[in-house]
Amino acid sequence: MTALGHLPTPANTVAPERDEGHRRGPAGYLLMIPGTVWLALFFVLPTVTLAASSLYDPSGSLLNGYQMTWHWQNYTEALREYAPIFLRSFLYAFAATVVCLLLGFPLAYAIAFKAGRWKNLMLVAVIAPFFTSFLVRTLSWKFLLSDNGFIVQTLSSLPAVPDDLRLLATPFAVITGLAYNFLPFMVLPLYASLEKMDPRLLEAAGDLYASPVNGFLRVTLPLAMPGVVAGTLLTFIPAAGDFINDELLGNPRTRMIGNTIQQLFLQAGDVATASALSVTMMVVIVLMVLVYVRKAGTEDLV
């Protein structure tokens, strides 16, 4: 990802050229210690633990304790049972990402190019939801979409809409909630990459016979691509693993993988299956991201 590509690596921040190979080693390694310790404690350790517990004996429980039996069948069984839920999670996350992109791009574009002196206010408005908790915001969607809420009432009073319209506890509600909650993660990277673009490039495109649509497709979109990639990843990954939106806005038939893992871990005590699902989720997402970033071809964007 380009965002990471710009981070200075320790190698080129330390070690000026003149004392090459002299004091470079110790200083560089010393500076790496805090980061390494942090990663080891909070990334490597949990990952290893998770991977290990996915191979526990599935008959273990909180009472009897868990045993490491290298029981790899946890994976096949988990997949056999929960494959549809996996699929559903990715589908919902994908839908939410598309909604975010469709809503977020015009918004980011407007903030970057058209907002004038309202720019900062609009940016604050995008971030403002973070000032309240994720849970509270999702709960308020529950009220908004409830059967007695004004949205459902207004819609069902329309002639073309069936009177028993329900929005809450449907896939629609879950996707709406996901899209709402992750919209800022889409808008901010998009804004950052659009902001960098020189609007005079669009003038030049127009001058060279590109219609506004053409100018958008040939100039704006390619230049916004790093933002699109970053934004879709930042939306898709957490959305695929989310469990709050489905918990509050969905129903048992809209269960996502996050809910399943949470339920297996905390209620059923089936640590082995839950871990196997988590590891599978992680691997699938990493693979998808790799393919996506390759395909989007953002490595060679400026």
């Binding site: 020189d198 005079r200 490039l201 003038e203 030049a204 495109a205 127009g206 001058d207 060279l208 016979y209 590109a210 219609s211 506004p212 053409n214 100018g215 040939r218 100039v219 390619p222 230049l223 964007l301 400026v302």
Partner: protein, 399 residues
């Protein structure tokens, strides 16, 4: 559907697809570019003030003027990137003021280049052709890159080029479309002298070969003088004077033009008619001028004379009745510039006048402190209205 200028140079290869191709006014070939009473205001600031211009089809038109005088704004209105607050832009007789930029058969070399950073040099140059669905793109781009001496750089990104190379890409990108009107906003400013001269020759060649109308903004007077058929000198949003380069140089009508285009010595005086000539009293001396080069015939005037028209003589030298003569000067500065020597001469009333003398070797040059008189032929002087700032336009141009 296809455009005249593009068909003209690209053969009949246009497919005529898509509704977004530039359409020249009524398909006329002889499309004069005309600005009628064009005014552009930014808020209360007037950037271009009631501009009237006609640029004949196929001519090379140079727009000269100090920084911030409205040159770029004028070009942007022709390109359609800025809407005139008032007035019309016409091309070949039809009003294009309301036409979107991408529908105008006009291309621009932007002062800021505005190259597409995500495209290679090749794709930058090919951009316009791809939009108009031109054929034979890679050959044309190759030729164009060769023209601007960048044939090896086709696969680079603009960020990997030097400033001058970027400028040449900008030039190639506009030129390749062979539009009816090409707007060049200081297109050679970042090039070294040698490359600039070569590009000037190429531009002039292309312009005469394909009969494109060029509107060329430059700070380089020499460039404007050698290349342009017509020069317009702009000052604070208005065209002060427009005409053939020699005409502008020899017959400046305002102090701004006199100072901006080359340099001038301007002397305050009182004019009165004296037979076929005009006599001007300047600090007690009587100088003569001819009516053909005078915009005023009597009353307070400024008498102007170009430094190269003035020659220096010893104070004791005999008087030649044919010449205007101003006495009592003292040489205060001598700079030798090879082909000529430039003197500053302080007059008794404190004014310093410039004199450029060719180094013909016929007599030794004067040293600082020498007492000299200044002479010039009456027909070399021009008279301007005294009600203007004598320093207007002086020292504005770095070239």
């Amino acid at each position: 559907m296809t455009t005249a200028p593009i068909r003209e140079t690209h053969g009949g290869d246009m497919t005529g697809r898509g509704g977004e191709k530039p359409e020249p006014g009524g398909g006329q070939q002889a499309g004069d570019l005309e600005l009628r009473n064009v005014t552009k205001r930014f808020g209360s600031f007037v950037a271009v003030d009631d501009l009237d211009l006609t640029v004949p089809h196929g001519s090379f038109f140079a727009l000269l003027g100090a920084s911030g005088c409205g040159k770029t704004t004028t070009l942007r209105m022709v390109a359609g990137l800025e809407r005139p607050t008032q007035g019309q832009v016409l091309l070949g007789g039809s009003d294009i003021s309301g036409l979107k930029p991408y529908k105008r058969p006009v291309n621009t070399v932007f002062q800021s280049y505005a190259l597409f950073p995500h495209l290679t040099v090749f794709e930058n140059v090919a951009f316009g052709l791809r939009r108009t669905k031109g054929s034979d793109i890679s050959r044309k781009v190759g030729e164009m890159l060769e023209l601007v001496q960048l044939q090896e750089y086709g696969q680079r990104r603009p960020a990997q080029l030097s400033g001058g190379q970027q400028q040449r890409v900008a030039l190639a990108r506009a030129l390749i479309n062979r539009p009816q009107v090409l707007l060049l906003d200081e297109p050679l400013g970042a090039l070294d002298l040698k490359l600039r001269r070569a590009m000037q020759i190429e531009l002039k060649r292309i312009q005469t070969e394909v009969r494109i109308t060029f509107v060329h903004v430059t700070h380089d007077q020499e460039e404007a003088m050698t290349m342009a058929d017509t020069i317009a000198v702009m000052n604070a949003g208005v065209v002060e004077q427009m005409g053939h380069p020699a005409e502008l140089y020899e017959h400046p009508r305002t102090t701004f033009v006199a100072n901006f285009l080359g340099q001038s010595n301007l002397l305050e005086g009182q004019a009165r008619s004296a037979g076929a000539e005009i006599e001007v009293d300047v600090q007690g001396a009587t100088l003569r001028a001819v009516p053909e080069r005078s915009s005023v015939g009597s009353g307070p005037v400024r008498l102007g004379v170009r430094p190269e028209k003035v020659s220096l003589v010893d104070s004791s030298a005999p008087v030649d009745g044919q010449l205007n003569r101003l006495g009592g000067g003292v040489v205060t500065d001598v700079s030798f510039v090879g082909v000529s020597t430039q003197y500053l001469v302080r007059m008794p009333w404190g004014q310093e006048l410039m004199v450029f003398e060719q180094n013909t070797g016929q007599r030794p040059s004067y040293a600082g402190g020498s007492s000299v008189d200044l002479c010039w032929r009456p027909e070399h002087a021009f008279l301007l209205d005294a009600g203007q700032d004598a320093k207007a336009g002086a020292g504005l141009d770095a070239v």
